[in-house]
Structures are given as C-alpha cells and as structure tokens.
C-alpha cells in the first residue's frame, strides 16, 4: 500500500475517532443536565 494512501486512512480514522469522542462527551454533558433537572421538567411525550 502506498504511503500516501496509508496516511489518508490513518487521518480518516483519527477524524472519526475525534468525532465519536466529541459526540460522547456532548451526550454525557446532556445526560448530566437531564439528570439535574427537577422532576417533571424533562420534556416527555
């Protein structure tokens, strides 16, 4: 495999990992906010 192709794959994997971790962090923060809401304040359907 060419070095340039290998570098592209590695960069894509790093970008996906960063995106996934960022989403996970954001979701954890949202979950903490939801947990901190007083009972009944959560939007329910």
């Amino acid at each position: 495999m060419k070095t340039q192709v290998r570098i592209l794959f590695i960069l894509a994997i790093l970008a996906l990992t960063a995106g996934w971790l960022s989403l996970r962090r954001g979701n954890a923060a949202l979950q903490a906010r939801l947990a901190a809401l007083p009972p009944g304040a959560e939007v329910t359907r």
Binding site: M1, R6, F9, I10, A12, I13, L16, T17, G19, W20, L23, R24, G26, N27, L30, Q31, R33, L34, L37, E42, V43, T44, R45
Partner: protein, 155 residues
C-alpha cells in the same frame, strides 16, 4: 503486513467507527428532544451569523401572538400547520434543519407533537413568555422572508 490485510483492517476500523458515530448521533438527537433550550442559550446561538437554526413560532393566534411580538427571524407556523401559515412563510419550513419550536409557555402538548415532526428539534423552555421575561430582542409585525442581499445573522 500484507497490503490486502492492512487495507481490510483500515476499512474495518472506519466502518466500526462510522457505526459508533451514527449511534452517538442518534443518541444526541434523542437527548436534545428531551431537553428544552433555554432562551439565553438560543439567543447566543442565533447571534452567531451562521447558526443554521430554524426558529418556528407555533402560537395558534397569528395576530395576538407572532405579529404582536416574536423572536427575530422566527417563521410563523400557527398550530404547527403549514396550511395556516402566512403565504410568505409557506415552503420555508424544512424538516431536516435543526429547529427550535416556540410556543406561548413552552409546555403545551402540541409543542411536543410538533418537535417530533422534525429530524432534530427542541422546544424553547418557557416559550415566548420566558424569552420576553429575559429581555431578549423581539420583533413585531407580519412575517417577511429574509432578503438574499441581507448579511449576517437575524439578530
């Protein structure tokens, strides 16, 4: 390492990570639906020139609600029904755009039904009452679509 094995390893890692991103993305949308946006948080988002956010005012009475006062840039959609929207606002509501639904108080059952119609939507906590109480900018009058020549954000 053999080139074919290496290629499949990279592809496998990318597919696995893409799957994780999609799963977390769905979880994000679900969490955001359950958490109403606070007026000041919405104001900060709208103040950014390229927020890419659609604000829908779903208060049922157009004259006493939207035309009396509304969030700058909001699109009137009385009762979340496009058939009741003013002519100029029809066709401007997009289902796939991140959306904030504004009602009078923010806790009406029809607001939640409206939120469910969009791919990614939240309600405004406390509705227009909370926006006004926070002394945030308001507009009044009939809806006029943004001009193509206008620049910057809607605030």
């Amino acid at each position: 390492m053999r080139p074919n094995v290496e290629l499949w390893l990279y592809l496998g890692a990318m597919i696995g990570l893409s799957h994780l991103v999609v799963v977390e993305g769905h979880a994000r949308v679900d969490l955001e639906r359950r958490l109403a946006v606070e007026p000041r948080e919405l104001y900060r988002t709208l103040a950014r020139s390229k927020s890419g956010l659609q604000v829908l005012d779903v208060r049922p009475d157009l004259a006493a609600g939207y035309e009396d006062s509304h969030i700058p840039g909001a699109i009137p959609l009385p009762g979340c029904d496009e058939a009741r929207a003013p002519e100029a606002a029809r066709g401007r509501v997009l289902r796939s755009v991140p959306t904030v639904v504004v009602s009078a108080r923010g806790d009406e059952p029809e607001v939640h039904a409206c939120v469910d119609r969009f791919t990614s939507a939240r309600s405004l906590a406390g509705g227009m009452e909370a926006w006004s109480a926070a002394s945030l900018p308001e507009d009044s009058g009939e809806y006029s679509p943004p001009s193509a020549r206008a620049g910057g954000g809607c605030l």
